[in-house]
Symmetry: C3
Subunit: 342 residues, 3 copies
């Protein structure tokens, strides 16, 4: 199943699976990082999945069985799936689900208790919608979509295939858009929608606003962590990763293969280039090019930020030194002056 | 409908509505900012709503029809409402809604599937509560209230008229209040409530805590973005805008016409004066007067923060320079000293 | 009930309860802090709960009745509970709740409308699950658990006794874990769970991820505020307080009796020692020992941060002064040089 080359003899059955430091003699585990690989001879694990290139000295008789493979982490998690298989489900629309008119769905559909589905919704094959979730009118989903409990997907959202949306998330809320009219905030109607590509995973309690008129776009293979805010008309490129509690303001464009670390904030109407990394808690206030690493609030190049951050705690001493130097200089000037007058 | 003065001849039907850069020959769009107004002659749009004062040179034969009006943005969004009318609804209480005792509601009420309504709830006319929403005991709402799906409104909350609450939001959760008792955190019961004025809009996944004993007050025309936290006994003045991911700690008073930008944090038991603007990611730790602009964490006047932030990345060079100067000064002192001894 | 010593005569009935500044002649209130205690003689309150040690001068005839007790705050909130008793409930499983197979529950169980309970769920005595909440398969709860409306508890979560979980919260969402495989983000299955101790209170709209394989642990008497994010395999020690909008990244261990103030972010795979306080908006990027106070982003000792923060706004002037000193020094050097040449 994981196409591994076996090194050593199984003296015991492997009946469990565990992290490296918790694995016992009947457990399978894995090791990739040098720190773990160095400790394999001492490990109590029954078997360890390791990289192809890993070699262990022959004089360690009691060591675990080694399973050599190209990508041990992925191989391990494939084994995890085998040890803890997903619950099988019988396709069904629960009697307590409320289904609108013209619902067209594919094969192997499971709509659980208390789900609400609006009018003209279309879903592909192998779609599973868990209890308490709301799906608005005209929503379209591809195949292999899993929506966890208590999710809200507002009208007109489009979703590709192989999508997971975690609980508490809201997709398609109105953007934050008001116009001033004689001192009042007048609401601008939001009639756009959210368009997601394929292979998207959205964490728990995200808020993704619909476009004002056009689309808010979540590209293919975008993965968001929990409590992420994505405002109206934001465009997120393929393969981009957005870590917990990040906020992205309206109409900003994020490139492909970008990583935005936790709690960073990105202002509106800017562009972040492909391959760029935004550090944790960064405040990005203007365009950032491709393949940059930026940190800090306001943001700056990461290497500069690191140097700055290292100096920052010494700021009070810098100030004292500066005042001392100023005084010394003044003293010296008066010495020189007095000499001149001599 | 929008009371505009028409300039030019409609050679084509207007059948759609679009943002400026996406508008085609059959689309209506709008332009307010100079950057857009300058490009109207080149626009493919069929018609553009522009400010009354806008003039275009006569020698641009192929330009779009102009619709001159006082507030083009508001006029445009009125047209958007016309192009995308809200779905009409038939007043109804869905069979799957669970309604407590003594529910008193006005005309044109729509309670959708799976809604829960507690005891002694009173709602005005044109109230629409979407699927999966929970309304606790003794909640009172005015007219024209729209509660989106999967909202939680806890007991005793009072709401004015013309209110919108987006999905995932919790109104009336217990505040974070514990007393130390022999080394244990003892929960203080929270028996107050949340009181909202008129014309309030609350974004998705907000958390607004009830007052400990008294009220948490959300003033008239307050608009919050997504993932905003408002703690117990906070008072927010009329017309104040609170952008995404802001947190306001307990018992703080925010004035009228305040703007709090995204991810800012406001500490507890302080006052922020009317008309003040708090910058993005700011950390406000003490009272701020009226009509101030503050930024940074800890906060300072915005103009000072801008200067400080501009100098910040150069801090490592400042430090080097300071060390160099110190050395030069020492060298010079010894030169002077040796001279003195000559 | 609160074992207080009464000082003064009740000339009026006490019929209400109120905060110090709002209390009228028929209200009970409390005072602990010196600022309030100093103003008792002027207070309109009918009665005030005060510390045992508090003495008031005899010549204040019209002052409120004093109730002297050891912990006035806790005594006061006990009285609040008496004035505003919780609604009594009749044990019941609502007809609209959907209950999985093998549900084992204790006495005095209330499962409200629209609740979903998976297979093999076990709950103790006095468990109250409010409308719209989802409880996954194999969840275990102790006694005296209150789950507010629209909460999501995913499968295998274990919970002790005396637990409160507020609305919108998600417990047991998948962690944010992907492996790179030929340029794609491959999802790592998450099969661990969340384990909570006793006396835990979780605020509204929290997201607590399950362990990847093992557990995410929430210790006894941990209290979280709203919108808190706790990632996979985090361990939080007993009695720790986590204020609103804090984020804790994966596999980090937080000690006992820790306080993490609002909007702080804690990076992954680090340890924070017992009794440590993390300041608001801090960014903690490396291990912190026991009984420390840290602030700032990146974090530093709190006393250092305070000094640094006080100097920060003066940074532009420091820079100007530095440039001026540099020039003066250069001028002086040339003076000295020219003298040397004389």
């Amino acid at each position: 199943m994981i196409e591994a080359r076996i090194e050593g003899n199984f003296s015991r059955d492997i009946t469990g699976i565990a992290p490296f430091d918790e694995a016992g003699p009947n457990d399978l585990t894995f090791a990739v990082e040098p720190g773990f690989l160095a400790r394999i001879a001492q490990s109590c694990a029954g078997a360890v999945i390791v990289p192809d290139s890993f070699e262990i000295s022959a004089d360690t008789p009691d060591r675990p069985v080694l399973l050599k493979t190209e990508n041990p982490k992925i191989a391990f998690f494939k084994m995890v799936s085998m040890f803890f298989p997903d619950k099988e489900y019988t396709p069904c629309i629960h009697a307590s689900a409320v289904i609108g008119s013209c619902f067209i769905h594919g094969e192997n559909t499971l709509i659980e208790a208390g789900v609400y589905i609006g009018d003209n919704v279309k879903t592909g094959n192998n779609v599973h919608i868990m209890p308490g979730t709301y799906i608005g009118d005209d929503v379209v989903m591809g195949d292999d979509v899993l929506i966890k409990p208590n999710v809200t997907i507002m009208e007109k959202t489009t979703m590709g295939s192989r999508i997971i949306i975690h609980s508490g998330t809201v997709v398609g809320s109105d953007g934050y858009g008001f116009a001033q009219n004689s001192g009042r905030h007048e609401k601008l109607v939001h009639k756009g929608f959210v368009a997601m590509g394929d292979d998207v995973e959205i964490g728990a309690c995200n808020t993704i606003d619909r476009g004002t008129l056009g689309k808010t776009i979540i590209g293919n293979s975008v993965k968001t962590d929990n409590l992420v805010h994505i405002a109206h008309n934001v465009k997120i490129g393929d393969n981009t990763l957005i870590v917990a509690q990040v906020g992205i303001a309206g109409s900003t464009t994020i490139g492909r293969n970008v990583i935005i670390a936790g709690q960073a904030g990105i202002t509106g109407h800017i562009t972040i280039g492909d391959g760029t990394i935004v550090g944790p808690c960064a405040g990005v206030h203007s365009n950032v090019g491709e393949n940059q690493i930026v940190s800090g609030s306001p943001h700056m190049p990461h290497t500069r930020w690191r140097k700055m951050a290292a100096v920052l705690p010494g700021l009070p001493e810098m100030r004292k030194k500066l005042i001392r130097l100023e005084k010394q200089l003044k003293d010296m000037e008066s010495v020189i002056k007095s000499r001149n007058q001599e």
